[in-house]
Symmetry: C2
Subunit: 347 residues, 2 copies
DNA sequence: CTGAAAGCGCTTACAG
DNA sequence: CTGAAAGCGCTTACAG
């Protein structure tokens, strides 16, 4: 059963192809009666305008593409959900390109999809700046969490949230903390590292930085040895996945959170579901995705779009993974220590 | 700067459009010298064949669409990752449609994308059978986790895994267990419920069924009251997200896993990252996605594709959320009980 | 308000 | 092995 085309509808409705076309794209040019007649027979025939033909004719594809490093990461799947929903609302379909954290694949995906989309949303691109600019020169591009002058961008400012987290930890008596980050290429991680360093200095905390590599649960777990060696009592992680990994690594060693160690994450997607629930900086992932799509689509509608930078504030959400600093075990001080030996050694 | 078209390349290379076209799509029909000449000038001009025009002309889009109920669910994001990667490998781009667990949106997405894709992968469709068949009659469709005669499908058979889980629990001394499922529309949930019921009967366990509604962390947490009321000592959940929710609900009430209660999940994406790590049935999500794409694409290549059903076995992975049944508290039995009172009440 | 016709950038029988 | 030409299904000035 062949798909009905505009010709068939025109013939059946007794009008020209142009009229059928207008009934769908510019009904205000037609008599209500004509519109109704055309739409009616279209409905009856199951006709839907062919997007491909429309795209070739108008030069507008009605599609956008979202390129991201890893859909399996909750931050990006939440972001993708927000982006896709918003694009759908505005009549656009969404391509997904997963670059597997690779700059090269990102480049290839951009090139391959260019002809089929009206614009791109690049979430946390791993591409270097010149290449991003090259693609942006050919097709409208909005980047998320990358601050490039002259390119539309949505930035989730998690700095204040991380600062608040450091203040929280300082207030709880922690003196030595760590920031566990992703590789240098990540704008977000750099931003968070800076906030932690600055806030730590301001509150007299010593701060060590650890690079976990590709942000994953394993990466978090694997850096626990380093954390303990460094003698810190709290860690702020680049995201919740890494934070959860750190908690798992601590649990493996019999350390409890927050009793023995405090952990802070970021994104706040899985944070409420971990055990214990993570204190985390909310990154408003879905909103970031939706805003990026809006920025892109508004730019398309506008002949000379002003380049906008949209900033979303990420605030701290305090849950159960942060608590008072543990009393230092190796060198107990205070007068009660000698008078009250460890109960476990009593027997 | 206008995008170069086939005409420009033809003129510059001193050949016809047909020759340029062939140089890209069927070079074996041309002299190597001609191919080289054409490709050279194309390269120099920055020419890339316009996919949209090609699609209109050939009727082949070079795209597929993946429709799923919720990208934010780890099962589907993992599946999407596998599908997208495989499609890319075979030269296809992937549209994502998130139906938000809604049959209607699924229907709309199918219709809107139909003209732009060569086929669909429907993961756990919420659509009723007649509508799925309607769409399958127009465009090649492969469904995942839905058993529809005559339609290509990939089924993850988690039945044996759930059976193994029930056997495990029975061996650990549990006598009353629960299956916490999703709504009736889910083929997977029905399959799992059947396996649990059958295995429970075979091993003399009493089995209660609880419907958690839309599978989510909250849904899992919310059904804990019902679980405890029902007097069961273990729960098997439709997926890991719900299982994790159940663990959270138990923790809220001061119950420990697996000490006081055992929990089993399914999918095995987040299972290794929860605390305690979940005993779970591996659903091979990424593989399912990749296989579905292969099935679809192989079908496209084949003039009269044989309808295949591809079955993936899901096996049980035992971790820390399952343990011996707790001794029944209200009616302690055994001779030692009176002789040895609870130590905590001693003081 | 509506229609006839050209054109979007390709592909592909059909000739030669 | 290569070219001229029709056609894919729309949209949109241009007339009327």
């Amino acid at each position: 059963m062949p798909v009905p085309t505009i010709r068939l509808v025109a013939r059946e409705a007794g009008v020209s192809q142009a009229t059928v076309s207008r009934a769908f794209s510019q009904p205000e040019l037609l008599t209500p009666a004509t519109v109704e007649k055309v739409l009616g027979t279209a409905q009856r025939l199951g006709y839907v305008p062919n997007q491909v033909a429309r795209a070739l004719s108008t030069g507008r594809a009605g599609n956008i593409a979202l390129i991201l490093p890893d859909v399996a990461n909750p931050f990006f799947s939440a972001l993708m959900r927000g982006a896709q929903a918003q694009a759908y609302k505005r009549g656009y379909a969404t391509f997904l390109g997963d670059s597997d954290e690779t700059a090269h694949l990102e480049d290839v995906l951009l090139a391959k999809l260019a002809a089929q989309v009206d614009g791109f949303v690049l979430a946390s691109p791993r591409l270097d700046e010149p290449l991003i600019r090259k693609h942006a020169a050919r097709k409208p591009v909005v980047v998320i969490n990358r601050d490039l002058e002259g390119i539309g961008r949505v930035l989730v400012d998690t700095g204040p949230g991380f600062t608040a987290a450091v203040v929280l930890l300082a207030g709880l008596g922690h003196r030595a903390i760590a920031y566990v980050g992703a590789p240098r290429t990540s704008w977000s991680s750099q931003q968070r590292a800076r906030a932690v360093t600055a806030a730590g200095a301001a509150h007299g905390l010593s701060v060590v930085q650890i690079d976990a590599g590709r942000p994953s649960h394993e990466a978090g777990r694997d850096c626990v040895a380093g954390l303990l060696e460094a003698g810190v009592t709290a860690a702020l992680a680049v995201d919740d996945v890494v934070a959860q990994g750190i908690m798992a690594g601590l649990a493996e060693r019999g350390l409890s959170v927050p009793g023995d160690f405090s952990v802070v994450g970021c994104d706040d997607i899985i944070a409420a579901t971990t055990y214990p629930p993570l204190t985390s900086v909310n990154a408003h992932c879905a909103l970031a995705g939706a805003n990026a799509v809006d920025l892109l689509l508004n730019g398309l509608a506008n002949p000379t779009p002003p380049v906008e930078g949209h900033v979303i504030k990420g605030e701290l959400v305090i849950r159960g993974s942060t608590g008072p600093a543990p009393a230092p075990a190796p060198a107990p001080r205070g007068r009660k220590a000698p008078a009250e030996p460890d109960p476990s050694s009593r027997k």
